[in-house]
């Protein structure tokens, strides 16, 4: 059964893996785009590869950097408004396919456009509970291991 690690194996600059997990949060790399260029039966080949994505259980929906979405020419399939501590502003919802190498699944997901790059975030994608709906997530803050898969932990 496929699974991937979203934690950290090693530390950096005096920080241990558990410290990095606290500071950066569970992070995976995803491929994203609208259409796979792969031949039938081949692994998906989406135009943007190894995009860093934060796993955020505090978010219901998924987000993508607006600039990245425009660069990939993702269709806007709805619009609305984002509100929060920064006030209110208009927002678009993009249709995108996401592929997580290691999880063997190619999915369409709705992504709310947010300004991650402008906000100096080093991730370009945030995956919330909508993405996690299809997986198990096991978070071990002590060992800095975060497992995402579709099977029983340790199975």
């Amino acid at each position: 059964m496929p699974s991937i690690q979203a934690g950290f194996k090693a530390g950096a600059a005096g920080e241990g893996p558990a410290d990095l997990l606290v500071r950066l949060g569970p992070t995976i790399q995803v491929d994203i785009g609208l259409k796979s260029r792969a031949a039938p039966g081949e692994p998906p080949d989406l135009p943007a590869k190894k995009i860093k994505a934060l796993i955020d259980t505090g978010a219901g929906g998924d987000c993508i950097d607006d600039d990245l979405a425009r660069r990939l020419r993702l269709p806007i399939h709805d619009e609305g408004e984002i509100s929060g501590v920064g006030g209110r502003h208009r927002a678009f919802i993009y249709t995108a396919r996401i592929h997580v190498p290691g999880l063997d699944r190619l999915l369409f997901q709705p992504f709310t456009g947010v300004k991650l790059y402008e906000g100096e975030q080093w991730r370009r994608v945030i995956l919330g509970r909508s993405f996690l709906r299809q997986y198990r997530l096991v978070y071990d803050g002590i060992s800095a291991r975060v497992e995402i898969g579709d099977h029983e932990p340790g199975g």
Binding site: L34, K35, L54, D56, G58, A59, G60, G61, C63, R73, P75, I76, H77, D78, E79, G80, E81, I82, S83, G84, V85, G86, A91, I93, T95, L107, F108, Q109, P110, T112, V114, I126, G128
Partner: protein, 86 residues
């Protein structure tokens, strides 16, 4: 965005009918017309991209409320905006 605006307007006109017949389904609108209802976003997006490529088109879940985003932010679809203040 004119195409999307027309699709949103069409959704608004049909909202009562959609809520009666397709509550919680994902619906697809294109060219100001209702195309079909689907059980999940995957099916709706697959149909939309196959038939209409990059669009414009509207895909929306009937009866969906605001979406919780990171950092306490909330996304409200245009049809659910509260214009009456707090």
């Amino acid at each position: 965005m004119a195409g999307l605006a027309a699709d949103i307007a069409a959704f608004e006109r049909m909202s009562r009918e959609l809520e009666a017949q397709h509550l919680h389904a994902w619906v697809l609108f294109e060219g100001g017309r209702f195309i079909a209802a689907f059980a999940d976003f995957e099916a709706a997006a697959t149909e939309a991209v196959e038939r209409f490529d990059e669009g414009p088109y509207l895909i929306r879940q009937v009866g969906a409320g605001p979406v919780q985003l990171p950092g306490g932010m909330v996304f409200r679809p245009a049809h659910a905006l509260d214009t009456g203040g707090l």
